[in-house]
Symmetry: C2
Subunit: 493 residues, 2 copies
């Protein structure tokens, strides 16, 4: 513990390259006992930062109070209000959904390239990425027994299609992988229907991602998965699924909560269910796409970076307004607000609009591969990808010292009463950096409705609230600007 | 006021045919001043009923406390719990939706006839009714400009279809009838899209019922109406619409809130929108159907009736589980509960499952025409047609005296904390009776989610909660039994 604490502390001192570091070193030299206490995290220290340094940090951050208020005023009450909403509406109404590999996505990227240039941002450019190209094609499902009933489906991303005549088979309904195992002998030749209860997204989504593989392992010919959604108005909710080497690929689609529950009731009454499933889904060769980048170049440490981001791709239904148009556009708005106020932080503020996130963070992974050589220059990576509803703060992953700093930064948002700093800052597109030790933050917002609309035809501008986007953009701008402008980078573990 | 009060009071006395009436008359004769006070509604009277009579009434109703508890125990905690839910699920899973004129509806009526007989109810029979037969056929809408976008629609009930090649026309988006009038000169040859805000169902539904007529009056070739819904996950919500003599009939359908808002945004940007609408909707000759009736015959006044009801028909989407499977099945359950407890009220308790409510109370109107000759024998008409979510009481229309009695009856539901008696007991299927002076009651329940699912593919068993149905059935059974068993009919105005 002590050694670890000492190392952490030492790392921290090592990263200081300025006058404050010298002061601390002098202090350490003449105050060895105090340094030992500092490194062992005793009472006089908060979160492992020395009182003095912490106090200085607090003062430095507090000095941004007026800047924070200016950002808030511009975003929430001033002439920039509703801008991110209006910009987003124009893009998604014009282009529609933006699936990886689609013409829509590439059109959106070209529009965004122009938008960012016209906005006067710097170093606007596109970074080439190879991304998956899957299309659902025509698809349909009909219950033939016990009665004719048209079943709403959405094929799952990466699924194979059926033969043109479809797959017609009896249904086996299960409510869990455990039940599927217990009833494995009944599954051969059947369409497995999963009617798993919705617990929460992260626990329940395994049925969407792994349902086809588990069904195929026991001989099923297709699988239909109850949509992973917290509310349904007969809405299918798609998403990526994953095949496994050595396991036969079978077609797989999501169905509505309503139909999954109905078939579960029918099966529990001993009723035979037969479904005809037709899916034209097909995977094409990988295609060219781009991560879209724009910057406000740092005035003092231009090589150092605070990265703000969201993903521009979406599923091929709805408008991809919530997932993740909102995140992408409050990230753009953060830079716009800062530019509008004539601010230029010491470090470079970099906007990245990821491509092909929905296919597994494809654009972000290639970005990381290309840029990780400069990882020591990344102070903070930020992503908004769980909605831009009313924010309550940030989720953050990083050292305790960095967390203490983030808490101070968030206190600048006291005028909006948005000051929480919770754990788990991870997000698909920034995880590579976070796992490599870079502090990472995600927007923390009111998730209540998020999984009503997620990956469905209902992910449109109707879900979005311009006032909530204003507030989210203000949070995003204050955090990214202050962290980019502070004298020191965020300390790592 | 006094005369009116006196008349009311006199009517009330006139309707008393028993010893209590005599007592009151004697009291009146010897206490003229008191009677005057009674009739003018002075302090010693509650709601126009004399203290003494009211006190007796209170005592009579209070004597049903044990019966009410027995009903509640059986319905909510005992072996009948979840029965109405299970029965409903079996019907709607087996039959599906039950549109007026469809084979499904007639199948459901035949099944219910058998169900009610098997349940041991009395005088189970079907009363013939002629009902409308409209079918939507195949239908689709595609936005051709500014970009290709498949628009979810549901043709509105009674709409005509389009020619087979569809109607392709430019769109005029309006947000109100006022705006349509102001822009009447722009409407000719166009498809009018209504993007009216959702205020509440009763205020907003005029756009669905009258939208086509108003659009046709200014020369539109079709109209698309934003669904009247309080939440949307890209869900169209259908319903009846009404043509008007002398106004050309144009095809009309509902669209989603999402698409209405998107087209409104596009139009406000000056973007030209073109839609191709295809509807195979067709009205066929009226067809045979039935109101489904069952009873527990009264022991003392079998010719007198308390009527409990819901409608068995639905729209042709979803399962019609909420609208109005729930209302129909808690009404059946009320009789089942009373029968299971070996109770037989003095008056006849009559269950009616209406047909073709959604086409404008067609079955109920014909029932009224046939039975109104006996209107003086109807003590109370009850309908549940706004969901069977958690009830909080009743909505009631009737004289102040009847209301005072209903308040006492509802106090029997104190164990469930469901005691409210609000105004507006009206419902489509019981309005004819109420307008003719019969007291009427509707179930008052938590409407929060009702218009999420109303008339959409999402009206399925997934919406229904067995525990809430248990409670609703208990309320329904207690009220109908006690009113049917009290010594006197409910007083009318
Ligand atoms: Zn996302
Ligand atoms: Zn109804």
């Amino acid at each position: 513990m002590l050694v670890l604490g000492g190392l952490t502390c030492f790392d921290y001192l090592n990263k200081k390259t300025n006058w404050k570091k010298m002061k601390l070193l002098i202090f350490a030299f003449f105050g060895g006992a105090h340094l030992l206490s500092l490194c062992s995290g005793k009472a006089i220290y908060k979160n492992g930062i020395s009182k003095r340094t912490f106090q200085e940090m607090k003062e430095e951050i507090a000095s941004y109070g007026d800047v924070a208020k200016a950002i808030i005023n511009l975003a929430v009450y001033g002439k920039a209000q509703n801008r991110s909403y209006e910009r987003l509406a124009l893009l998604v109404d014009t282009v529609g959904p933006r699936l990886s590999g689609s013409k829509n996505l590439e059109k959106a990227i070209q529009i965004m390239y122009q938008n960012l240039q016209q906005d006067g941002l710097e170093n606007v450019h596109l970074e080439p990425v190879r991304i998956p190209h899957w299309e659902r094609g025509e698809e349909s499902a009909v219950m033939l027994e016990p009665r004719i009933h048209k079943i709403a489906i959405l094929g799952l991303g990466s699924s194979i299609g059926t033969p043109p005549e479809g797959i017609t088979a009896e249904v086996l309904v299960v409510t869990s992988f455990d039940e599927l195992q217990r009833r494995a002998s009944e599954a051969r030749g059947k369409i497995v229907v999963y009617n798993q209860p919705y617990i929460n997204y992260s626990r329940t989504v395994q049925y969407r991602t792994q349902g086809a593989v588990e069904a195929a392992k026991v001989g099923a010919v297709a699988s239909l998965i109850r949509s992973v959604a917290s509310l349904s108005i007969y809405s299918p909710h798609t998403g990526i699924q994953e095949y496994q080497d050595g396991v036969p690929k079978i077609p797989t689609a999501c169905i509505t909560v309503e139909d999954a529950e109905m078939m579960s009731r029918m099966a529990s009454r001993g009723i035979k269910i037969v479904i005809q499933l037709k899916m034209g889904a097909k995977t094409y060769p990988d295609t060219d796409s781009f991560n879209t980048v724009a910057e406000i170049t740092g005035s003092k440490y231009p090589e150092q970076v605070v990265l703000v981001s969201g993903h521009l791709d979406s599923w091929d239904v709805g408008q991809g307004a919530m997932d993740d148009g909102g995140g992408a556009f409050i990230s753009w708005e953060a830079l716009s607000l800062i530019k509008d106020l004539g601010l230029r932080p010491k470090r470079t503020l970099r906007l990245v609009l990821w491509t092909a996130e929905e296919q597994g963070g494809v654009g972000a992974f290639q970005y990381y591969q290309l840029h990780k050589v400069n990882i020591s220059n990344y102070s903070l990576v930020m992503e908004s990808d769980t909605g831009t509803f009313l924010p309550t703060g940030l989720q953050f992953t990083g050292s305790e010292k960095a967390r203490a700093i983030m808490e101070e930064v968030m206190s600048l948002l006291q005028p909006l009463n948005i000051t929480q700093v919770l754990s788990h800052g991870e997000g698909t597109d920034i995880n590579f950096w976070i796992q490599a030790g870079v502090p990472g933050a995600s927007l923390l917002d009111d998730l209540y409705k998020y999984f009503f609309f997620h990956h469905s035809h209902g992910d449109t501008m109707t879900v979005m609230d311009p006032k909530q986007m204003n507030v989210a953009a203000a949070v995003w701008a204050v955090v990214s600007y202050v962290v980019a402008d502070m004298e020191e980078m965020l300390p790592r573990s």
